[in-house]
């Protein structure tokens, strides 16, 4: 962009901000930075600028960059959920493209600020990740790059296994509830200690179960209770966990967030005083973003359609809705702001992806049959429920810590809460070896193989045993 264009974009941004305020959006102050494509792809690969170094980030960077170099895909914007928010724009985009992206970004920031699932995220994450990266670099100096990478590989392989609802904990996880020695040690001066009382105070019976409830947060459990980890290794587990928890709400609200941003960028751009040519260009861009894909759902499109549908249904309720649900009409705006505040993708799709919408959007299920991908289902409820299932626990197997002192020998017993889908055993085996590397003692995983309950056991990095449970 030429300096003139930058000035043009800058003045438009003030207008976009004013329009966003006018329609009721409530974003954090937002800082935009124009960057070259290579920087945009780097940030896209790392999720947050300045995040720690790891070869998987390098691989993601290479893949995204290759896609861009061949013109296969393009990232228009990257926005960081912080206060103030940071957003990155491509400096070789046109002014109009960047205006549209700025409007889109402000709606994202409004969503970050106001949606319930973001209420506990660290809004200083940009600084926190930089500090984390610096600490990891320091560990590399102290312990060697390969050592740090070995730990990081192991932790990253189970990074999804944190508790998505950290605020719903019944008790702080840091309570050390490990079984203690059963009797206090007896000594020659016990009589002095208990002088003046008739008998010794009651020793509470040791808690046999550890953890008392199955623990979903595998990373936290390992960080706090793995028998042999060094402090710096525990710190790496904490670092990965804190960054994962930062990303969770974004993963939980992908469809809503993109839908909300698309809903508002369209409306804000229409309010702006655009020249004729720009308007055509805008319409072209907008439809590009919303293009449907035959092989996946486009969250921008589906999300936006649902918001539009909600607004319409609450603005002009049917007679039945008026009578049975007491809808007054004209409440559309208020309703979509309420939805953006209270829902996540699962509740959003469950509540508002209606029969009419599934049919209008022409959603379907397909699968591979004899080397051919065919459409197998169009029933709206089945389609909706399949989408919901794929979102449960972010599409990951639900794994909990059942016992952190297995066989009274500090073994770790994990349980895959089976809900009909079996694990990829090759991957489970390799992942368990990573868990074993962190835990240091034997690791057991209860799961279901070919319809029968089985336990995978990794005693050291080299052996895997499959047992039927006793």
């Amino acid at each position: 962009m030429t300096p003139d264009e930058v000035r043009d974009l800058e003045s438009s941004m003030a207008e976009i901000w004013a329009l966003a305020q006018k329609v009721g959006l409530d974003p954090y102050p937002t800082h935009f930075e124009l960057v070259p494509a290579s920087i945009m792809y780097e940030f896209g690969a790392y999720g947050i600028p300045g995040r720690f170094s790891h070869w998987t980030h390098g691989r993601a960077y290479q893949q995204i960059k290759t896609m861009y170099d061949y013109g296969l895909s393009k990232i228009y914007e990257l926005v960081i959920n912080t206060n103030p928010a940071y957003a990155f724009l491509l400096e070789n985009n046109t002014v109009l493209q960047n205006k549209l992206v700025a409007a889109h970004v402000l709606a994202h920031v409004d969503f970050f600020k106001n949606n319930a699932y973001f209420q506990h995220t660290n809004r200083g994450m940009l600084e926190a990740t930089s500090v984390n990266a610096e600490r990891l670099r320091q560990y590399e100096f102290e312990h060697g790059r390969d050592e740090v990478e070995r730990v990081l590989d192991a932790v990253l392989s189970i990074q999804e296994h944190v508790d998505a609802n950290p605020t719903l904990r019944a008790r702080p996880a840091s309570d050390d509830v490990r079984p203690r020695a059963r009797e206090p040690r007896e000594g020659p001066f016990d009589d002095l200690v208990y002088i003046g009382s008739n008998r010794r105070p009651e020793v509470p019976a040791p808690e046999r179960k550890f953890p008392p409830e199955p623990e979903k947060d595998l990373l936290l459990f390992i960080a706090e209770h793995a028998p042999d980890l060094e402090p710096w290794e525990r710190d790496i587990v904490h670092i990965v966990r804190s960054e994962q928890i930062y990303f969770l709400p974004q993963m939980q609200t992908k469809v809503m967030n993109e839908g909300w941003a698309s809903f508002w960028h369209a409306r804000i751009m229409r309010e702006m005083d655009l020249p004729q040519d720009d308007y055509v260009e805008f319409a072209r861009l907008h439809s590009g973003v919303l293009a449907a894909s035959r092989r996946s759902i486009n969250p921008y499109y589906v999300g936006m359609k649902i918001f539009e549908d909600i607004e319409r249904r609450w603005d002009q309720p049917t007679d039945e809705d008026r009578a049975r649900l007491g809808r007054l009409g004209g409440e559309g705006r208020a309703k979509i702001f309420e939805v953006r505040e209270l829902d996540n993708d699962q509740s959003f799709l469950r509540n508002y992806l209606t029969k009419d919408l599934v049919e209008e959007l022409d959603l379907y299920l397909y699968r591979l049959e004899d080397e051919t991908w065919v459409i197998v289902e169009k029933d709206w409820e089945v389609v909706r429920d399949t989408i919901l299932t794929s979102l449960t626990n972010f599409g990951q197997p639900y794994i909990v810590v059942e016992d952190g002192d297995h066989h009274r020998n500090r073994g770790l017993r994990l349980k895959h809460c089976f809900e009909g889908q079996e694990l990829d055993l090759g991957y489970a085996d390799k992942t368990l070896r990573h868990v074993q590397r962190l835990w240091g003692r034997s690791v057991h995983l209860e799961t279901v193989i070919d319809g029968r309950p089985m336990t995978l056991v990794v005693d050291d990095e080299r052996s895997l045993t499959v047992m039927t449970p006793r």
């Binding site: 901000w17 102050p29 390098g58 290479q62 794929s390 990829d424």
Partner: protein
């Protein structure tokens, strides 16, 4: 550059930001490690041998993925979106069979097989394959002092051409001289401060060597045997050409008769007929005697066959010929290809098993993954053992 307190826009210089490329380099390093660990499988890959003229090959790397707990992908339903007229039974696309043939391809945007494929140039791959290889028992022969065409920058002088100015040392000299004069910082550069890098031509002595590649093209050689032979010689020729600029290669094919052929003919010939291995060994001896006198040439005959020779008589003749080859050659290498393991006992290999000479190297190849170990056996650098040493 503030537009309003709540929305700001800046543009900075990011040209020194290098994080992504640095991690990318680490990833590439890991790819190399993974390839090094899987050379057995990769060397035998058909895609590489047949990639004539194609510079980049895809190498499947299964070990280089961060594992995680995930569901068995198997038969899983996916959600898609049509244009308003989709029906149950509509076909969205095809997936190549997941057998060998389709392995090299990722099926577009469809969810499918997901192991990681690295793009590697043949040269990079070759460098890894050849890392520890060398011609065994190589001796300095002949007096060919071949000036290699590379130079080494290994000296710094006060005179030189400006394009070779050593800027760092020049600045340091200047700083030191200024400091001696009591002045801080850089400035007032004089001719005395200038330092130049200079080079020396790098000369190394080469050993003359000839490799004789012999290949059985008789009718008994099946697809697999031919493939293995091709694969082995592909890597061998490539290796020799990369590592030794002075090595000559003679190509011989044989069935009942042996012929000297050119490289193209050697790799692309499909003949048939009976087998008389001795013919090839005879021809090799003749060529060596005519063109490559033992005093000046290291010689390395290699022969690949399925071991199915024409009768015991010829086997005995082969044994004699191999012994006379061994008298004047640095190594005689024999590779016997037996798909899926040993079939019969009356093969050449069992005849050769009586040879007790460290210069005879015999290798049996049972499947694709044996090609790389065979290369390593034939081309591991060995020194001449002192006389009387026990093997």
């Amino acid at each position: 550059m503030k537009t309003s307190p709540s929305i700001t826009l800046t543009q900075n210089d990011w040209s020194l930001h290098r994080k992504g490329p640095i991690d990318q380099a680490r990833h590439n390093e890991k790819v190399k490690e993974a390839i090094r660990g899987n050379l057995d499988q990769i060397v035998g890959e058909e895609a590489i041998i047949t990639s004539d003229g194609k510079k980049v090959v895809k190498v499947p790397i299964r070990s280089l993925d961060l594992p995680r707990f995930r569901f068995d992908r198997g038969r899983k339903d996916h959600v898609g979106q049509g244009e308003g007229d989709s029906k149950v039974g509509d076909v969205l696309g095809h997936e190549a069979s997941s057998q060998e043939a389709g392995r090299g391809k990722q099926a577009g945007e469809l969810p499918g097989v997901d192991y990681y494929e690295a793009d590697v140039t043949i040269d990079e791959l070759a460098a890894l394959v050849f890392e520890d290889l060398g011609l065994p028992f190589l001796q300095p022969k002949g007096r060919a002092l071949v000036p290699a065409d590379d130079v080494r920058f290994n000296e710094v002088r006060r005179q030189g051409i400006m394009s070779n100015l050593d800027k760092r040392r020049t600045i340091r000299e200047n700083l030191a001289r200024n400091a001696r004069a009591g002045v801080r910082g850089f400035g007032a550069l004089t001719t005395d401060d200038l330092r130049f890098k200079t080079w020396e031509p790098h000369v190394k002595e080469e050993c003359n060597a000839v490799v004789i590649a012999m290949r059985d093209v008789s009718g008994s050689m099946g697809e697999f045997e031919k493939y293995i032979t091709r694969s082995f010689y592909y890597w061998m020729v490539r290796f020799l050409r990369t590592r030794y600029s002075q090595v000559e290669i003679v190509f011989i094919t044989h069935h009942t008769e042996a012929r000297e052929v050119d490289e193209d003919g050697f790799f692309n010939l499909g003949e048939s007929g009976g087998t008389k291995v001795s013919s090839a060994y005879l021809l090799a001896l003749e060529i060596l005697a005519d063109r490559y006198p033992a005093a000046e040439w290291n010689s390395y005959p290699f022969h690949f066959s399925d071991g199915d020779n024409w009768g015991e008589v010829d086997n005995a003749r082969c044994l004699d010929l191999v012994n006379s080859l061994l008298e004047r050659c640095n190594v005689f290498g024999y590779g016997e290809i037996q798909e899926g393991g040993r079939r019969s006992l009356s093969t050449l290999m069992s005849t050769f098993s009586t040879i007790d000479d460290p210069h005879f190297i015999g290798v049996t190849i049972a499947d694709k993954e044996d090609v790389y170990p065979a290369l390593k056996q034939f081309f591991s650098t060995r020194e001449e053992l002192p006389a009387g040493a026990v093997r």
